[in-house]
Structures are given as structure tokens and as C-alpha cells.
Symmetry: C2
Subunit: 415 residues, 2 copies
């Protein structure tokens, strides 16, 4: 259980012994040289059956311990993973789909899919005997690290842009870590955290640079497979900021094939905001045969969790999606708002704007027939609407203020 | 599965056939005559084993279908229950306890324990073929009903006090139900919903009056038992507003004894805010041999979810707690604030103020030795801190605003 065999650089393919490096390939550097954890898939394939995971009786992502880099004895208490998957039959029928599922990763312990990566990164920190952890993020990853540090009783240092939402700041302050609100872009925030982590020897859980993140994120793919009774949908649509979560999803699907629990991976589609679309642009260039390079672009979207101008996992995200025959799509802030409202009204899942971008993307993909009629599609909802409760509701009716008398109701009821 | 035998009035003990009444005992009325769902416990005791629930492979409260009023074919998609239980070893040691567990019911689908009651109440509405649902509440129950109505595609009508928190209003608006913000107290809000539900034939899921709520809430007790490996703690501490959730918890523990899965129930302690303590006061009167009567008192606490002046389930709550040899305790708003901060900092669970009242109560109970040293205690955390993110953090340090330069950090780090 939890026995990685190698670390491989996603850029140059160089192999390193497991646990020999914390972050990136020394030759390719942090911008391109993300490391990927490899396992003995042949041996795992012989051992694992469709029922192996249920037998652990774990409801967290440690259910998939066999495919994680360490055993659950290193885990922090907070329970990540095991989030619900909802079948949306009426909505599927209306959209002409054979199946539509929504996975609510907002029900992770601090309210986002980032708890998956933190769970494995913090377990790595404990296995390695590290004394403190750090993270730079647009918000959710920092909040997640803060919660896990509180749970583990470990000092934490987090770096967020000054513009982070009020609820996320409230979470950070409550969890008692040291919070730096950086007067600069997310890119500068990220750099500052990297430098400080190197200088002060903090275990840096920032996206991309830490290979453990993807190991946690891939468990969303395993859950999807298990929740659909050992089947995979044909298409999976997910929001993309840094490119880390989508890389994790793709790795999860790939590993299910490698251990012979699935025949093939779904086509994975990444969704970005039109105003912060550096990964989508890199993917478009890749399709035209150009080299995938780290790129910095202006970033401006209401969906703060994916408001990323310099995505840190662009190389891996582009290659991973290409391997699944997927693609990228961009959506406007107005479409994101509308999607968040639609998911709440029709599915009963209150999503933050970034988390609803996947549904906006699905509508676009159906429109341009990238996803065909009668397909089976899963949509990832990556964070809770309570993380950013409100501004996108501006177009919706407010409560009807009434005095406490029955007569006052009648005029508002069309019954 | 899901076969109730009778409904019993908690006041006069009269028995009614299952499903023969929607709300309260017609003789005792809604203020006293809450109905309790009974089952054939002897038959269930013969059939159920400690492993029966795991065999269902359900991770929601439908895992306990055998002890619920209907089968899961009536369930709405949103997944209630299956929330994590955290063992807090360091904190337990510091408090001189042998065991301390925190159950995070804020990870239910709309962020509070009320999703347990709604899950069963909505399943009842569907079984009964009702066309629409309603609810009055201090916030969380209304939000929960709204989410489930969205998931079920059923019209919903909710009534909340005008003073409800912004995030809760945001959730209500997003879920697309009709929201009435009542210019009056919670008591008037509750009455208005009852009258309108009767007039317009809405299935009313408001606390106490609907016997299905307690059926959902009791599943928290079943989970606690199962998560502790088929054992129960000696003490359970929970916040109390209307008295419905604590009644459900007590019923759950009682039923575990009735079906012979547990030898005895824990002592259950209810915690109220000093400024909204009508159930605690009724319990004190009961201990002096006085009759338990519905009581209206002024209510004023920062913990909005338990800011209840006229608790609707006072009779049942007082009797249930007395049967377990439990008690009530009141805590100040300052203690509630401090408890919310402590749970976040030490356990990594961000709780709304009302939800943290249980931990404040535990500290009081240890202080006055109502809970002895070396005890094993579970603390219920009933709602997410994202529901009310912020004001109670006023005393905590804010983020440190820094420019994006490493030199600027050093002065803030004592390393």
C-alpha cells in the first residue's frame, strides 16, 4: 500500500527515486518540470479488483490508499474525498444527454476540491518529518492548507492576493495560520511563497510544484468510477485555473486504465473564463503544433478561484487533456453567473462561480457539438457557493418582505 | 425496510396508525403534541447486526433505511448524513478527557444538520404524493428545504426572520424557492408558515410539528455509534434551539438500545445561549417537579441558528434529555465566540457560532464537573462557519498585508 516506484519529470521524462525530490525536476525547473508519481501498475493490476476499495471501508480518499504515495497512518484527521455524485435526470433529458452527473466537491472539509491535494501533501509532510507547511493560492488551496494545519497542529504560512473573498479570509483567520495578503498579482504571491518556503524550510504545497497535489486530486476520478458502479462517463468537464486539478483527474482516469479497472479514459474538457484563459490558449497553440510554453497573460474574471494569469501546471494540463482526446473551452463571466444559478436551482448544489464554470462549459460544448447528443457526461463542481456568497445573485429576485399576517401573503402567491 | 408501526403523541401517549396524521396529535395540539414514529423494535432487533448498515453500501443516512419511515426509493438526490467524526486527541488530553470527538454536520449538502431532517421529510412528501413543501426557520432548516426542493424539482415556500445572515439569504435566493422575509420574530414567522401551509396545502417541514424531522436527525446518533466501531461515548453535547435535533439524537440512541445494538444511551447535554434559553429553563423547572409547558421568552444571541424564544419541541426535548440522565447548560455569547475560534484553530472545523455552542457547553460542564475527568465525550457541530462568516472573528488578527518582496516578510516572522 502506498508504494510509489519513481518520480518522473513531465517535461524531460527523467526518472528519480521516490521521495528524492520535494518539488520539480532540477533540470527543467518549476515552470515546466512538474514531477509525476509512478507506481508498479502491473502488480497493482494483478491485485486490485472492482471491490478492493470498498473493502477498506474508508469513506475518505484513503479508500484509494493502494494508489496513493503513502499509507493512511500519515493522514491528518480532516476527511477529504467521498463527496457525493448526483444524477441529474431531468436536466440530462432537457439537454439531450443520456446521462448527466454533478460531483459536489464543495463538500470537502474546507469547502473545495483543494482538500484532496492538501490531504496527500500534508500526509507527505508528516511522512517526511517536516515541521511546517506553506501555500500560495487564489484562495481555496490556502484555506485548505490552513484547515489541515489546524487539524494537524502544525504551523502554516499562507499567501493570498489582497483581493480574496471575505468568507475565505474569515476561514483563514479562524484556522489560526499566519496569513500574508500580498499587494500584487497571484503570480507575485506565488513567487513570494516559493522564495520564503525555500528560505525558511516550509513544505510548500502550492499547486504544480508539489507532486503530491495531483496524487490527491486524482482520487476524484477514482470516486467517479466507483460511484458509477465501476463505469466511467464518456466526457468529464471541469473548471481550470492553474491546471493542477485537471491534471489530477486525467492521471486518475489513466491509472484506472493502467491497473485494468477501466477500458479507456473519458475525454476530459477544461473550462476557463474568457478573461483568464492562459491554459486554453496554450492548448490551442499545442493543437497547431506549437511548443507548450509557460505563459503569462492578463487575468480578469469574477470567478476568483480560476483567476490565474500564469498557470503553473500548463504543460502537464495540456498534455494530459490531449491524451484523453479532450479539449478546452472558454466562457464569459455572464455565462458563469448563469451556470451557478442554474446548478443551484436545478440540482440543489450551491457552487462558487469558478466551480460552476464547468456547467457553463458543458453548455458551450453541446452548442458546438464537441460533446454529442446522447452522451454521458460528468461535471465537476469544485467549490462551495458559501465561499463567495452573493454577488452573482444580483439578477435574482430577493426575498419578499412581508408583515406576519396571512392576508399579506396572498398577493405574492399565484396559486 | 422503512416500516413504521405507529405514531405516538409525546404528550398523551395516544397511538395512531402510521401515515394517518401529517403533524401533531389532534387532542394535544402542535405546541405539545409532537408525534413520534415507532417501529417493531423486537423484530428489528432480531434482524439487525452491527454489520447490517455497512452492508447497504450507502454513505448517506439511507444507510439506516431499516430504521427510517420509508424506503430510499422516495429519497431526493442530495446526500444527507455520512458526515465525518474527528478524534481530537491533543485537545482531549488537555481537557483531561479519555476521548473527545467532534462530528462535523456542517458538511451536509446545504451546510447544516437540518439536511438530515429535510431528507426524511421530503421523502415523506414524495411518498405521500404532496405537490409542494414549506418551512419556517431561523435559517438553516429553510435553506435546507430550499436545496432539497431544487434537487427534487418541487415548489418550495420558506419563511425566515428578516434578520437572517447574508450567506443564508444567498443560498435561499440561489435555490429558487419563494422566500418570505417576515417582519417579526421567529415565533411570528413560524405561525405564519403554519397558517399558510394549512391554507395552501403545503407539506410543512417546520421543526417539531413534522414527525419526520426527528427521524432524520436521529441518524446522527446511529453514525456516531458506527463511527466509534459499534460503541457509544459516555456523554454527547449538542446545541439546542427548537429542541428538535436533540430530541432526534436521544431517539437515535434509545433505538440503538431497543434493537440491542447498544447497552445504554450516553448522557445527552443540551447547550443554549444565555440570551435564548427557554428549553434550558423548562428543564430546570422539570427537575424541580414542575410541569413542562411551552414557554415564550425573549431571545437575543449572536448564534442566530439557536436564537429561539419559543422552542417548538420543548416537551420532547426535556423528556428525552431527562431519560438519558443528561442536563442543560447555558453559555454566553463571548463563550460561544471563543469556542468557535477554538474549534477552528484546534480541530480544523470552521463552525457557525450556534454550532460551536456545544464546545462552549462542554467547557462549562467540565468546569462544574457534570462531565467528569477521563470521560469519553462527543461534541456535535451542527452547521458550517461559512453560513455566518465573520463577525465573531473580530478579536482575531487579520491578514498581514505585505508587498511582494521577501525582505518584507522577515519582520513578521519570528523564526
Amino acid at each position: 500500500m502506498g508504494e510509489p516506484t519513481e518520480l518522473r519529470c513531465v517535461n524531460c521524462g527523467q526518472l528519480f527515486p521516490p521521495w528524492s525530490l520535494d518539488y520539480a525536476c532540477p533540470d527543467c525547473g518549476p515552470d515546466k518540470g512538474s514531477l509525476e508519481v509512478l507506481y508498479n501498475y502491473r502488480a497493482l493490476g494483478r491485485r486490485l479488483t472492482p471491490k478492493s476499495f470498498a473493502e477498506t471501508q474508508q469513506h475518505s480518499l484513503w479508500r484509494y490508499e493502494e494508489l496513493l504515495p503513502m499509507g493512511r497512518e500519515h493522514a491528518v484527521s480532516l476527511r477529504s474525498g467521498g463527496t457525493p455524485l448526483y444524477s441529474c435526470r431531468t436536466l440530462a433529458a432537457e439537454l439531450g444527454l443520456r446521462g448527466l452527473w454533478t460531483k459536489d466537491d464543495g463538500l470537502n472539509p474546507t469547502g473545495s476540491c483543494k482538500d484532496r491535494s492538501t490531504a496527500v501533501a500534508m500526509a507527505a509532510a508528516r511522512k517526511l518529518g517536516r515541521a511546517s507547511c506553506s501555500c500560495a493560492s487564489t484562495g481555496n488551496a490556502a484555506v485548505s492548507l490552513a484547515g489541515f494545519c489546524a487539524s494537524a497542529g502544525m504551523p502554516g504560512f499562507v499567501f493570498v492576493p489582497e483581493t480574496i473573498s471575505r468568507p475565505k479570509i474569515a476561514q483563514l483567520r479562524a484556522f489560526g495560520v499566519l496569513v500574508f495578503a500580498v499587494g500584487g498579482t497571484y503570480e507575485q504571491t506565488y513567487e513570494l511563497c516559493s522564495e520564503a518556503s525555500a528560505k525558511y524550510d516550509w513544505f510548500n504545497r502550492s499547486a504544480a510544484v508539489n507532486p503530491m497535489n495531483v496524487e490527491g486530486e486524482k482520487t476524484a476520478a477514482f470516486e467517479l468510477w466507483e460511484q458509477l458502479g465501476g463505469e466511467l462517463p464518456e466526457y468529464v468537464v471541469t473548471p481550470v485555473g492553474d491546471g493542477s486539478f485537471i491534471s489530477g483527474l486525467c492521471k486518475g482516469f489513466r491509472e484506472l486504465v493502467q491497473v485494468e479497472l477501466a477500458a479507456s479514459t473519458p475525454a476530459v474538457f477544461g473550462v476557463q473564463a474568457e478573461g483568464a484563459a492562459a491554459v486554453a490558449h496554450a492548448f490551442a497553440r499545442h493543437k497547431q503544433g506549437q511548443t507548450i510554453l509557460p505563459a503569462t497573460e492578463p487575468a480578469q474574471t469574477i470567478a476568483d478561484s480560476i483567476n490565474v494569469g500564469r498557470p503553473r501546471d500548463v504543460l502537464r494540463a495540456v498534455r494530459s487533456v490531449a491524451e484523453t482526446d479532450g479539449d478546452f473551452v472558454t466562457v464569459s463571466d455572464a455565462e458563469i453567473n448563469e451556470a451557478a444559478q442554474e446548478i443551484a436551482r436545478r440540482v440543489g448544489v450551491f457552487a462558487e462561480p469558478a466551480a460552476a464554470a464547468s456547467y457553463a462549459g458543458l453548455l458551450r460544448l453541446l452548442d458546438r457539438a464537441d460533446i454529442p447528443a446522447q452522451a454521458r457526461v460528468a461535471v465537476m463542481v469544485t467549490g462551495s457557493g458559501l465561499k463567495d456568497a452573493g454577488d452573482y445573485l444580483d439578477g435574482l429576485p430577493g426575498p419578499i418582505v412581508v408583515p406576519p399576517h396571512l392576508e399579506a401573503l396572498a398577493e405574492h402567491l399565484d396559486l
